[in-house]
């Protein structure tokens, strides 16, 4: 899985491409851990190009969420392909993840919170 990184204000945006499973998820976990070490705890994952995710991939996302929470940070997701969305709905993980339709919508939500 390819991970490209950019920073928008204080939010680190990771764009994922390919399959999210146990093997590729390990790289993502390392990336998140490195960000937490640098106290960059506002993370957005753009899943537009994730064409497959299995239960191990979901497990990776759950553990990332726990890690970010532990660091008092915030994790948002966006651009879920229909298949990915389906698996989030079946597992009802949409109730504990903050999911946005688009990356810009997610980034705006960071702005409105910090404005208030």
């Amino acid at each position: 899985m390819e991970i490209t990184k950019k920073t928008e204000n204080l939010v680190t945006v990771l764009c994922l491409k390919g399959r999210l499973d146990l093997a590729s998820g390990a790289g993502l976990k390392d990336e998140i851990k490195a960000l937490m070490d640098k106290e960059q705890n506002l993370i957005h994952l753009n899943l537009a190009d994730v064409d497959f995710i299995n239960s191990s991939g979901l497990g990776v996302l759950v553990s990332i969420m726990k890690e970010i929470r532990m660091h008092k940070g915030r994790l948002t997701l966006s651009d879920l392909a229909s298949y990915v969305q389906e698996i989030f709905e079946i597992t009802q993980l949409s109730h504990i993840f903050e999911i946005f339709t688009s990356e810009s919508e997610a980034l705006t939500s960071y702005q409105s919170v910090s404005a208030n």
Binding site: F52, S56, L58, R69, I90, L93, H95, V113, A115
Partner: protein, 634 residues
């Protein structure tokens, strides 16, 4: 000209017709004439019995905007019929600048009511050209005209009238409130300096209005003049000062830098939110990050259901960021809150809940409202605390399906292999949502043991369990499920076979495609179509020569599907496979083939496609035209 007059005479006569359509025609015709007599006819039509005719005449008069129209309309201001008077006023306001001269001429009318109406209309027109004349009416013999003049000058907003207004303020106590209000609307340094001076007034009514007027000007430097009133013993004066500062703050995008005694105005500000006052809401919410304290937290929690959706999202997020320190206040209010508020509170706590907080919420898992219980299940699951597992297991026995479903989902976020049997029992719940939630929980667990159990379920007596097993194996999606899914291709139920193939297509990492090749000959067409898609997903377009025999399938929809799949490959070499269908008898396949050839970029067949632009079937013609354009652009 005489012809024109004759024509208008006929139209005026027609205006008297009992027939609505005749009168309507006459009004429209008069509206297109440019002579004064026609305007007079339109004004006459304002007294028609029918509202539609009156409105039509008004519409034409507004378009004409002439002096004659204005003069004639002013006559109606003296009418005893309120309807006619109001209609004439409305038209004059719409005529706007064009009516000012005629209106100003009427300011000396003997009838003080007409003078008042004229002043009011000039105020609504807001033309600076009328400022001087209206200023003169501050000395009118009738007090109503004078008050209206002061109000109108505020609407006109011209600095030229400030001196007259100040003069009026000094000479006439009865118009002071109107003058102050007008100065606030006019704004600017000159008006503001007078308003600052009036802050020394002993009259609380005047003082209240002056503070309000200063707030309306929105000038940042005014805050220095207003802060001292925040300490006033007179609550209404203090709150007026706060309200004015709020207004100035909003006008200046919150950039005022004064340290305000917000605690003193806590009730005022939060009542503003309850009363849906936009400015007070915006101001108060913007200050919450820097305005701590248990009272503030309590007040905020009480008004959550008064704010709009966007503000609520922000507050929920913000309280989530404040985190555990928000919990004592929330937990204190929780028992007596409405269900709607409880759910908002739970959404706040869900963001930071840990085992301790989850334990404190356990007592509410029997709340009377199932929606609250459902959200409690989510919060318990979000806590990540495995000691919640047993409590959630109890909640899976709730009498309401939604609560059971949420409890199974939350278990999925916490469970381990030890809870496997419990979760599998959930697959037999009487409600499909609950069964799906239990399956979702097992998918999240996704262990080898789960895979084995689902594999066994493929042969379960209950077909629903079989369906859930095939879906779950696909969602678990790692290499360990490929073999069970390939074996499921021999399942007696076609829906299971299809579901297994769809899952393999998503997983893609399938080394042995032989069983899928065999499925191309499945007795059910839906299975054959799925197998065809799966093979292309797994092996790419190179598999097309091996599966092309489906172009001769007995089922038209399999053939249709195969043509589409070839089109998507975008490999021109497969054009020859599709081409025969554009010469065939089945229109649906003909259209699919035309579109596929366009996608494949087969320019060699442009002539054949072009010939189809004369087909009798419009859908074929449209497809052919689209394809030609696509190929030309390729």
């Amino acid at each position: 000209m005489s012809n024109e007059i004759e024509k208008i005479g006929a139209l005026l006569e027609k205006l008297q017709s009992p027939d609505f359509y005749n009168r309507e025609e006459a009004v429209n015709a008069l509206g297109s004439c440019e002579v004064d007599e026609a305007v007079a006819g339109l004004v006459m039509a304002l007294e028609d019995d029918d509202l539609g005719i009156r409105e039509l005449a008004a519409e034409h008069l507004v378009k004409i905007k002439g002096d004659v129209a204005s003069q004639l309309l002013i006559k109606f201001l003296g009418s005893e019929d309120i309807g006619s008077r109001n209609l004439a006023s409305e038209i004059l306001v719409k005529i706007g600048d064009g009516a000012v001269t005629a209106l100003v001429n009427e300011l000396e009318n003997d009838d003080h009511d007409i003078r008042k109406f004229v002043v009011d209309i000039l105020g609504l027109i807001k033309s600076e050209n009328s400022a001087e004349a209206v200023s003169g009416k501050l000395n009118d013999s009738n007090i109503n005209v004078v008050c209206s003049a002061a109000e109108a000058l505020g609407e006109i907003g011209s600095e030229k009238s400030i001196d007259s207004l100040i003069d009026g303020y000094k000479k006439n106590e009865d118009i002071r409130l109107q003058v102050v209000e007008a100065l606030g609307k006019i704004g600017g340094d000159k008006a503001l300096n007078y308003l600052y001076e009036y802050l020394n007034s002993d009259d609380p009514m005047i003082l209240f209005s002056v503070i309000d007027a200063i707030g309306i000007t929105g000038n940042k430097k005014s805050v220095n003049h207003l802060v001292k009133f925040l300490d006033s013993d007179d609550t209404s004066i203090a709150e007026a000062a706060m309200s004015a500062i709020v207004n100035i703050s909003i006008e200046n995008k919150g950039t005022i830098e004064h340290d305000l005694p917000l605690d003193k105005f806590s009730s005022f500000l939060f009542d503003g939110i309850k009363n849906k006052n936009k400015k007070l809401t915006e101001f108060t919410l913007a200050r919450l990050k820097h305005w701590y304290g248990q009272d503030v937290m309590n007040s905020l929690l009480e008004v959550l259901h008064f704010v709009d959706e966007e503000d609520l999202k922000s507050i929920v997020k913000m309280l989530g960021e404040i985190g555990p320190s928000a919990s004592p206040a929330i937990l204190k209010q929780f028992p007596n809150a409405t269900s709607e508020l409880k759910i908002i509170y739970l959404n706040i706590m869900k963001q930071y809940v840990d085992g301790d907080l989850a334990s404190q919420l356990l007592r509410y898992n029997t709340d009377a409202d199932p929606e609250v219980r459902r959200n409690i299940a989510f919060v318990l699951g979000a806590s990540g605390d495995v000691s919640m597992i047993d409590h959630l297991k109890v909640m899976t026995q709730d009498k309401i399906g939604n609560v059971r479903s949420a409890s199974y989902a939350a278990l999925g976020w916490l469970c381990s292999e030890n809870d496997l049997n419990f979760l599998f029992d959930g697959l037999d719940d009487r409600y499909p949502d609950v069964r799906d939630a239990a399956m979702g929980a097992l998918v999240l667990l996704g262990s080898q043991q789960v895979v084995s159990r689902f594999f066994e379920d493929l042969s379960h007596d209950d077909t629903e369990r079989q369906r859930l097993a095939a879906t779950a194996l696909g969602l678990i999606g790692d290499s360990s499920v490929v073999e069970p899914l390939l074996q499921a291709l021999n399942h007696p139920e076609s829906s299971i076979r299809k579901s297994a193939i769809d899952s393999l297509a998503k997983i893609r990492e399938v080394d042995n495609v032989e069983p899928l090749m065999l499925s191309l000959n499945d007795e059910t067409s839906g299975v054959r179509k799925s197998a065809c898609t799966a093979l292309v997903m797994i092996k790419g377009h190179t598999v097309i020569p091996e599966i092309k025999f489906l172009l001769d399938d007995a089922d038209i929809w399999v053939r249709y599907h195969m043509i589409n799949i070839i089109g998507v490959s975008e490999q021109a070499i497969y054009g020859e496979l599709v081409k025969p269908f554009i010469d065939g008898n089945e229109d649906i396949l003909k259209i699919a083939a035309i579109k596929a050839l366009a996608k494949l970029g087969c320019k060699d067949f442009m002539k054949d496609i072009s010939a189809l632009q004369d087909d009798n079937n419009q859908d074929i013609v449209d497809a052919a035209k689209g394809a030609i354009t696509e190929l030309q652009e390729a």
